[in-house]
């Protein structure tokens, strides 16, 4: 492979990884905005998305298209139960306690997944058959278009939701000022539930679409959550668009460093970026100083 086709190949891989990180980062942002909680079980939504998709298509033989939507629905329900059972009853608790609860939930979810699916990774046939497309000397799997397309669509829909619907506005209001929001007649508890449901749906989309390329196993969550968290922080915690752009940046840097430096270092890269951002510009590359000061972390 010459240099040019190598670069194209790494770029495509980076975009694919990046779109997953972007969706996980967006999931973090939505829950953070509604509650101030960093949901460290965010990666488990992705894991469930992948494994439930595998269960529906391989075990129950449900057609791919239908299985995809059932997966989204089931993982969303998991998100709803999660909020109602573990978060909602703890209203008077400090934020840090709630974040530790999310760690516990993440471990609990992984335990359930290991119990059901075991420790082996599962694969999934791609959403549509077809040979890899050759472009500028690089081979691009058709599934990559699914991943990119679905994440792009999700990001656009989320954007429309938050900017164009009154419910989205109500959720942003909770992010801006929870007390005032509740006194404007917004049911904050319902908005928090909605934020967990939405985040779970986002995770499920990411998980179901990435599994045909990257496989999925019970303990994939934490690493994905870590990368997504890096994206959310890098993008300026609380900024949806920032998290998406930062997700793509991390994906591309990771892919290039795996290709040109060493694949052993690729996971370290995201962490190095996170540490650098926290040292140099804690408000993130897109966050303003003023907003950064308000952050509780």
């Amino acid at each position: 492979m010459d240099l040019q086709s190598q670069i194209v190949q790494y770029l495509v891989t980076g975009l694919t990884l990046g779109s997953i990180y972007a969706m996980v980062g967006l999931g973090f942002t939505i829950i953070y905005n509604a509650t101030g909680i960093i949901n460290l079980a965010q990666g488990e939504f992705v894991m469930f998305g992948g494994l439930i998709m595998v269960f529906l298509t391989a075990t129950l033989r449900i057609p791919m298209f239908l299985a995809f939507f059932i997966t989204l629905a089931l993982v969303t329900v998991i998100g709803i139960i999660y909020e109602r059972v573990f978060i909602n009853p703890l209203k008077q608790t400090s934020l840090i306690t709630l974040i530790i609860v999310t760690v516990a939930v993440s471990i609990f979810f992984r335990g359930i997944a290991m119990f059901i699916w075991g420790k082996n990774p599962y694969s999934l046939p791609p959403f549509s058959s077809g040979k890899p497309i050759m472009f500028a000397g690089a081979a691009i799997l058709p599934q990559i278009f699914w991943v990119l397309g679905l994440s792009l669509l999700t990001v656009i829909l989320m954007n429309l939701f938050f900017n164009r619907t009154i419910t989205g506005k109500a959720m942003s209001a909770c992010a801006g000022n929870r007390l005032a929001a509740s006194l404007m007649g917004i049911n904050v508890s319902k908005m928090i539930l909605l934020s967990f449901a939405l985040s779970a749906t986002l995770g499920a989309i990411a998980g179901a679409s990435i599994t045909p390329i990257a496989l999925m196993e019970y303990d994939r969550g934490p690493l994905l959550a870590l990368k997504g968290f890096c994206a959310a922080v890098l993008g300026g915690l609380g900024l949806g668009t920032g998290a998406v752009v930062a997700g793509f940046i991390i994906g591309i840097i990771e892919s290039f460093s795996a290709g040109f430096i060493s694949s052993g270092f690729k996971d370290a890269i995201a962490l190095i970026i996170l540490i650098l951002v926290l040292f140099i510009k804690p408000s993130g590359i897109f966050g303003s100083e003023e907003v950064g000061k308000v952050k509780q972390f």
Partner: protein, 240 residues
């Protein structure tokens, strides 16, 4: 600060003020009425309905709205959006309808936009509709909070120190706004330290100290009440 023994009524369409020294429990009272703090004893009745143990978001739906002593705007939104969120409780279309952008929803959204702009026009803030709410000077932020509360179309409006931090001419503007809200038929419960404003706009005054009512009546009666004079300053009230 706890409310110990405090009972009063507010007549519809009137301006009732609560005064008392700092820490007397005035803001606590507002927090109890609006469900921000849980009520441990006693009863709050609004239009014949017991609302003692309702959640904070309940009030907006039945016609109670409030402002805050410390400004609580949505800092992540512009001036217009702040008011539009206030219209939230009047909004009928569900999530699905708004997501699909059905005609009913578009019509409702247009109405909300128009109402919000009308409210802004009322105080001459139309030209600042698109500015971030946090960029407004203090007086305008206070006014914006009142507009946002009005957007919920309340029957009872609780104003927590609307004139705090305002200069004299801004305070005059505030009293004009309070009058115009009263003339709309909205009942007002007012907490304020600015005695000049209180004596000017109030129909009736309740004086509290240490969570207890020590006097109630029209401004001129309350002014000459010896208990009140003692609670304040331990001497005479300064009306300047």
């Amino acid at each position: 600060m706890a409310i110990v023994d405090l009972s009063f009524e507010v007549e519809p369409g009137r301006i009732k003020s609560i005064i008392g020294p700092n820490g007397a429990g005035k803001t606590t009272l507002f927090n109890l009425i609006t469900g921000v703090h849980p009520v441990s004893g006693g009863q709050i009745v609004f239009q014949g309905k017991d609302i003692t143990h309702q959640k904070p978001h309940y009030g907006a739906g039945i016609g109670i709205s409030r402002t805050f002593q410390t400004i609580e705007l949505f800092g992540n939104m512009n001036v217009l959006e702040n008011i539009m969120v206030g219209c939230h409780s009047r909004f009928k279309s569900g999530l699905l309808a708004s997501g699909l952008r059905l005609p009913r929803m578009k019509k409702e959204e247009a109405e909300i936009y128009e109402n919000s702009m009308k409210l802004l026009g009322r105080v001459g803030l139309s030209s600042k509709a698109q500015l971030p709410a946090s960029s407004l000077p203090l007086g305008e932020q206070k006014t914006l909070e009142i507009l946002r509360a009005l957007a919920t179309e309340p029957q009872l409006l609780l104003l927590d120190e609307p004139a705090a931090g305002l200069n004299e001419s801004e305070t005059d503007g505030m009293s004009e706004l309070i009058y115009s809200i009263r003339d709309q038929g909205i009942t007002i419960l007012l907490v304020e330290h600015d005695m000049r404003l209180i004596m000017k706009v109030s129909d009736e005054i309740v004086v509290v100290n240490y969570g207890q009512k020590i006097a109630e009546g029209p401004p001129d009666v309350v002014q000459s009440d010896s208990l009140v004079i003692e609670a304040y300053l331990g001497g005479e009230i300064d009306y300047a």
